[in-house]
């Protein structure tokens, strides 16, 4: 088998992966970087991020405020040393992106403009209209084109980490065009594969978000941290799950129920201001509360019969009509485009139907503040990683900044590791990749008379996850979910592919993705079962209170032959002792 050799490998070509790749070129242009991505980098899901990226730049803001907002938003589960590093480096990263051409929206004087987002004391979200992720990703991709030390493996699908002698020395990856599994070696490997929203039936996430990097690490013995924390974004379009950005509320949009009533005032999120008041929208209040609390309020409204029933489930309305056509076209043009195309309504004149939708996985591959995982040679950054700055609930507009700050950090850590690491044991790495090639061929290409289908199991899995680990969970729902996932994993062995060809076999990649999704789901459900408290996005109906005595800790899910083993590690507290999350007060 041929082997490709690089100093550093990046798995994933989205925002975190490209930032990491560029960081290596900045550190040392003589280091060769391989970027392995199952899609062309500009197709990665960063492209869909709309609202913006948070960093302190305006004189009325302060680093401490950004830290406090993030930590209280996380329900005190974020590591405070990581949050401090993140907030400190955030402005530099966003300015750097400006220098790479990102078309940030501007103030009349030419400085970068900011807007408010949920859970923020002061407006600090940089934005490029409402296609911030799109512009960031293309600016990063186009900037990466000028680095000759970067080799891209576009449409290569990573299937296994090649671990020898207790150290990650590369990956096995399936080249989609040829159908060959190849060994790609690197002294450091950085996972930047994004989240896993596709394990749920109703999600904003693109098709590619199947938890690949999380599962790769988990299978290599690396724990997944805080997997029980899943963010529901309060405003997705029913049916498709397409995201309507929080910026629509930052710019003044309001949420109303079937009575036309601004129901958030009943959920300890403060008093509503009239939309024509100059102080509307008030920060950390009502529609600018944090995402977990807003999504939970929806469920209560539904329980009380105050939502609207539709063919794709219940919904409420987002009203932006008072903003007027001009402001809508300037600040949230994509929202208008999406509503017109996918709902057939014009938000300038009509109400937007919305409901909570799975958006982001706070948990991920366990890393420290440098992006290092417990496995030497393996690093992770972006949504697939859990540093953690997001704790039990991520603040809107922190994720785009996170992928820059920690993409760069993880890359630098990988470079440091590579500089002192011994040589790659080529023979062993090739042997492992050959073994992987055989596993895939035997498992998926040899007819076994199995009766299960990919789509069938995938549908069952996603519905299991929704029932077991939705916005509200209980021991009963989670135990049933764990049992069902175990059964689905067993049934996965009965999957039979119709497509046995080598050329661009997307049925094979769908099967491999489903296998990843099963592993990630297992870790998630068991972590949620073990956390017998409610915190942030993890709401247990049987344990409704936060329990700092027992659970001011990160969970770590380790793969085992049976159910995963759950351990805990302390949260790093520096300057903010655990307190009450207060929203809506002055």
């Amino acid at each position: 088998m041929e082997i490709q050799n690089h100093d550093i490998l990046i798995v994933g070509g989205g925002g975190a992966g490209l930032r990491a790749a560029i960081a290596i070129g900045e550190e040392n242009p003589n280091l060769s970087v391989g970027v392995i991505s199952k899609v062309y980098p500009m197709r990665s899901h960063t492209v869909s991020a709309e609202g913006g990226a948070a960093a302190v730049i305006k004189p009325n803001d302060s680093l401490d405020d950004h830290m406090y907002d993030t930590i209280s938003g996380s329900d005190w589960l974020a590591d405070q040393d990581a949050v401090e590093a993140f907030v400190h480096e955030a402005p530099t990263e966003l300015v750097q992106l400006e220098h790479w051409g990102c078309p940030w929206s501007r103030e009349p004087d030419g400085s970068v403009a900011v807007r408010p987002f949920g859970g923020m004391k002061i407006e600090r979200t940089w934005f490029a209209a409402d296609k911030t992720g799109f512009h960031m990703l293309h600016a990063l991709f186009q900037t990466a084109l000028k680095y000759n030390n970067i080799t891209r493996y576009d449409e290569w699908f990573a299937t296994r980490l090649l671990v020898h002698d207790g150290r990650c020395q590369g990956v096995a990856a399936l080249e989609l065009r040829s159908g060959q599994v190849r060994a790609i070696a690197g002294k450091g490997t950085v996972l930047c594969t994004g989240g896993a929203g596709r394990i749920f039936p109703f999600t904003t996430n693109a098709a590619v978000k199947t938890g690949d990097g999380m599962a790769l690490a988990y299978r290599a013995g690396v724990p997944l941290k805080d997997m029980e924390f899943v963010q529901y974004h309060p405003t997705g379009l029913p049916g498709t799950g397409i995201l309507i950005t929080e910026a629509s509320r930052g710019e003044g949009g309001i949420l109303i129920n079937n009575q036309g009533y601004r129901y958030l005032q009943d959920y300890d999120l403060g008093e509503p201001l009239d939309v024509n008041e100059p102080n509307h929208p008030r920060k950390r209040t009502m529609e600018l509360g944090p995402r977990d609390r807003l999504s939970q309020a929806f469920v209560q409204e539904r329980k009380n019969g105050r939502t609207i029933q539709g063919p794709y489930g219940d919904y409420v309305y987002l009203d932006v009509r008072h903003m007027g056509e001009k402001k809508i076209d300037k600040k949230i043009p994509f929202v208008r485009e999406l509503c017109r195309n996918y709902v057939g309504i014009d938000p300038v004149h009509e109400l937007i139907p919305v409901r909570p939708v799975v958006h982001y996985v706070m948990g991920g591959v366990h890393t420290n503040i440098e992006g290092e995982t417990p496995l030497p040679g393996l690093f992770a950054a972006g949504e697939c990683a859990c540093v953690s700055i997001n704790g039990a609930n991520r603040l809107g507009s922190n994720s785009l900044t996170e992928l820059l700050v920690f993409g760069a950090r993880a890359a630098r850590a990988a470079v440091r590791f590579g500089a002192q690491a011994g040589d790659i044991v080529i023979d062993q790495i090739i042997a492992l990749a050959e073994q992987e090639q055989r596993r895939i061929r035997e498992r998926f290409f040899q007819p076994k008379g199995g009766t299960e289908t990919i789509a069938g199991l995938r549908v069952e899995l996603t519905h299991t996850m929704e029932r077991a680990a939705g916005i509200y969970r209980s021991e009963e729902s989670l135990r049933a979910g764990c049992d069902e996932i175990r059964e689905l994993k067993h049934r996965f062995n009965q999957i039979e592919l119709a497509d046995h060809s080598l050329t661009f076999n997307t049925e094979l990649t769908a099967a491999l993705e489903l296998e990843y999704m099963l592993d990630v789901s297992e870790a998630l459900a068991h972590s949620a079962l073990a956390r017998t408290e409610s915190r942030g996005s993890h709401q247990r109906t049987d344990y409704p209170d936060r329990d700092d005595q027992r659970f001011l800790k990160h969970s770590l899910a380790y793969r085992s032959d049976g159910d995963p083993r759950i351990e805990y590690v302390d949260v790093a507290i520096t300057r903010w002792p655990p307190g009450e999350r207060v929203y809506g007060s002055k």
Binding site: H45, V95, D109
Partner: protein, 260 residues
């Protein structure tokens, strides 16, 4: 999502179907492409991509195509739909129903398999035109952001909206004849940086854009602009680039003492 939709139908109950005629080509097995017919449930709110996903999941797992975001921004799912280049996630069945819908890979690109095209050529061109910011003057990050007024931003913003979906190449008669032509999206992205107040590399890019005579064959047919799902107006970018080049030529020939 598709899942929810299927369930909604089972309770709602409509028997209507729509016929897809899908281009199939498998290089390991086929000498020439064929068309395969699939009967798919008709749903008012389905896009062509939903119909393809239904085929993939329920009828024929070998059907091969790209998709990801299903919201018109990742640029993966461009195909010919009844002869027109379209993002299939934004092409609604209701706009074709009850007629059959013919789905083919994007025109003028080599086909890898079924509806999957090879777009290496475009990525190569994107590098050639230096589609990245080359700062007019180096400024350390510690000195903060460049100032850029909303008017300066508006100057290039439209051309920055390109999602690299390749529909414009598929609509371009010049590219169809002559694939050396840099082509609409790459020129639009070059122009995006040329017009950026922070950039200083317009001259270098012009060398590449005009290195091939293809651009002079572009007669402002404007099909690229017509099919662009993001209103980028690549035809406008090409015309602007040509005007700039012509001005430079006149200046160097007629007023050689003038500053360039």
């Amino acid at each position: 999502m598709a899942v929810n939709k299927t369930e909604a139908n089972e309770t709602g109950g409509s028997e209507a179907t729509v016929i897809l005629e899908v281009f199939r080509y498998h290089p390991e097995q086929d000498d020439a492409p064929t068309f395969q017919r699939y009967d798919v449930p008709y749903r008012e709110d389905w896009v062509v991509l939903d119909a393809l996903n239904h085929v993939k999941d329920q009828i024929d797992g070998t059907l091969t195509y790209r998709w990801s975001c299903r919201m018109g921004v990742c640029g993966s799912c461009g195909m010919m739909v009844n002869g027109e280049p379209k993002l299939t996630c934004a092409a609604f069945l209701r706009d074709y129903y009850p007629d059959a819908i013919r789905i083919e890979p994007l025109n003028y690109f080599p086909v890898i398999r079924d509806l999957v095209i090879n777009m290496d050529d475009f990525l190569h061109k994107l590098s050639e035109v230096k589609a990245w910011l080359v700062p007019k003057e180096e400024k350390p990050v510690s000195d903060g952001e460049h100032l850029q007024t909303p008017a300066e931003l508006a100057h290039y913003k439209q051309f920055s909206m390109c999602i690299n979906c390749m529909l414009c190449y598929s609509a371009c008669p010049v590219y169809g004849q002559h694939t050396e032509f840099v082509g609409p999206a790459a020129i639009a992205l070059a122009q995006r940086y040329n017009l950026d107040s922070r950039d200083g590399a317009a001259d270098t890019r012009a060398d590449v854009i005009f290195s091939d005579e293809g651009i002079w064959d572009c007669t402002f047919v404007g099909d690229c602009t017509r099919v662009c799902p993001k209103n980028v107006d690549p035809a406008g970018a090409i015309q602007q680039a040509k005007v700039a080049a012509t001005k430079d030529w006149f200046r160097s020939v007629l007023v050689p003492w003038g500053s360039k």
